[in-house]
């Protein structure tokens, strides 16, 4: 159970409340709001301990280094990574996936090799592979999605060949909320001698994640989607794989010896963290994880699924609505369209009521084509949402329908 009045942990809600425009924030799949605890931690860092990390030879720098490395350990424990050194700090899930595509892909893929993705990927797990495929001549293939918006593992087995070098899939879909069986997918990939990459941008914030149990080789996520600051994300990688890999970005921190025309590299994770990292971001992320853990990820998941189920049921009453949500594994993400009311117009009408939802392709254009829509509206719930938010949403949607139905319009607009 998530405690009542949890919104009061998040200053942004009181800010808008006090201005008479209460915020019904239903766009947490895009980015989440930040609890005071996270904001204060960042402030504390800059006001007390700010210094560059690792290279310092004085106490302040040692303190900064210690708290930065403590954040790394926290992240590793959060996803049950074997050791802190298997966690690389990045800007966001997108950079994490690019790191794998470039550092692993550019050096391990050759012409004709195959990388398998799925039909429900976010652009962040598509475009990096387009780039690497162009450079290496590798071929991309796709796991199909079935009618309940689930990945069809038979289709994965069918397209796997001896040339398959990697299988990279989204853990939880940002459009459908589908939770994919990444443990099974990883096992299938490994059986075929391919590595397994998981885009965890929508799982780390919402469900308990255990990378050792999944068994994947890489797992990517973003801090800003889990109550943390912007500009910080992570990549978990199996340590021996990280050790064997070429680096990605070159620069300070990631080297051992540098000569004019060659260099050799530090050990992971430093090998992959070139330049001054987002120190305050890492520290804020630790505070965010502590906040989430205090609430309990199981509780958060239950809370969101319950809200999602309730919303699916309540929204089904809206005239002309079509909901894209799997029956089998629904979560707190609801994408939908309404006949004759474009998602962008829905969003504007909701916005006028203080409700923030997203309308668009959600960085998943191939999935949109598969769903045969140009865009959808999406409400995504997080730990700070409650049933009254769902009610407000449903009523506003009814208003949207009325506005676009000339017969009813006169009655709703004031």
């Amino acid at each position: 159970m998530i405690r009542n009045h949890i919104k009061s942990d998040f200053p942004i809600f009181s800010y808008w409340e006090s201005r008479g425009k209460p915020l019904v924030y239903l766009d947490s799949a895009a980015t989440t709001q930040k609890p005071l605890r996270v904001i204060s931690k960042v402030e504390e860092y800059y006001s007390q301990f700010n210094a560059n990390v690792h290279r310092g030879t004085y106490e302040l720098s040692q303190i900064a280094t210690d708290i930065y490395e403590e954040a790394r350990s926290k992240v590793a424990r959060f996803i049950n990574g074997l050791q802190p050194e298997s966690v690389i700090f990045t800007r966001n899930a997108t950079e994490s996936l690019n790191l794998v595509a470039y550092a692993w892909g550019l050096n391990n893929l050759k012409e004709g090799d195959e990388v398998i993705l799925s039909e429900m990927e976010h652009h962040s797990n598509l475009v990096p592979w387009h780039i690497i495929a162009r450079h290496t001549g590798a071929v991309l293939k796709f796991i199909r999605m079935n009618h309940d918006y689930q990945l069809d593992l038979d289709s994965l087995r069918q397209i796997l060949t001896a040339k398959t070098k990697a299988v990279s899939v989204v853990h939880v879909s940002n459009v459908l909320g589908t939770i994919n069986p990444v443990k099974e997918i990883t096992a299938i990939a490994h059986d075929a001698g391919a590595i397994s990459i998981v885009d965890g941008a929508q799982s780390a914030p919402h469900i308990p994640v255990d990378v050792q149990d999944i068994g994947c080789d890489f797992y990517a996520f973003s801090g800003h989607k889990m109550c943390g600051p912007t500009g910080i994300g992570g990549l978990y990688g199996k340590y021996d794989l990280l050790e064997k890999m070429e680096p990605f970005l070159g620069g300070g921190e990631m080297i051992n010896e540098v000569f004019p025309t060659t260099s050799n590299y530090a050990k992971p994770p430093y090998k992959f963290e070139a330049g001054t990292p987002n120190i305050s971001g890492a520290i804020g992320l630790q505070a965010a994880i502590e906040y989430i853990e205090d609430l309990g990820l199981k509780n958060i998941e239950e809370h969101e699924v319950a809200l999602g189920d309730y919303a699916a049921q309540r929204l089904a009453e809206v005239e002309g609505i079509r909901i894209f949500r799997p029956h089998a594994t629904g979560t707190g993400v609801i994408s939908f369209t309404i006949d004759n009311v474009h998602p962008h117009d829905i969003s504007t009408i909701l916005d006028a009521e203080g409700i923030a939802i997203r309308a668009g392709h959600h960085c998943a254009q191939p999935l949109m084509r598969k769903l045969q829509v140009q865009s959808t509206a999406r409400a995504s719930f997080y730990l700070y949402n409650d049933r009254s938010d769902v009610e407000t949403l449903a009523r506003a949607l009814e208003k949207a329908v009325a506005i676009f139905s000339p017969r009813k319009k006169a009655n709703v607009l004031k």
Binding site: P343, H344, T348, M368, Q374, S375, F404, K409, L413, K414
Partner: protein
């Protein structure tokens, strides 16, 4: 901000019953415009003769504002010269960005989009058709 100012009768009418919808079979100019942020997609085909727009059609998909704006635009620009269109587009941008409180009467039905100025997130929707038209005119076919 009131939704009444945005979703006017004229807008909804053009959205639900767009004018000049489709493609000209042998256009002299053509362009396609996107709004990455919301997925709006508009194709504009033109027949320009002696610097005068003699025919114009649009197709594509998108929100009420983008589609209605395209529909209204096709009505307005037919018969105008390329130079006149430049001026008109400028006036239109000024109006929807709220730079001009009293829109020019040359804008005709497009004044129905005046309310967009109060909805900054929708400005891009309203201007897409006009930007695409200007792009089409730049591209000699």
């Amino acid at each position: 901000m009131s939704l009444n100012d945005l979703f006017t009768e004229i807008i909804l009418d053009h959205y639900q019953h767009p004018h000049n919808h489709g493609l000209i079979s042998s256009p002299s100019h053509f362009s396609r415009g996107f709004n990455e942020s919301c997925g709006d997609d508009i194709q504009i085909s033109l027949l320009v003769e002696k610097d005068i727009i003699v025919d114009v059609k649009f197709s594509g998909a998108g929100c009420s504002i983008s589609q209605a704006s395209a529909s209204i635009m096709t009505d307005i620009v037919r018969g105008k010269s390329v130079d006149q269109i430049k001026t008109l587009a400028g006036k239109f941008y000024d109006m929807v960005k709220g730079n001009e409180a009293n829109p020019d009467e040359d804008l005709g039905d497009a004044v129905a989009l005046q309310g967009v100025a109060k909805f900054p997130v929708r400005v891009k929707c309203a201007t897409l058709a006009w930007h695409t038209l200007e792009e089409a005119l730049k591209q000699q076919k």
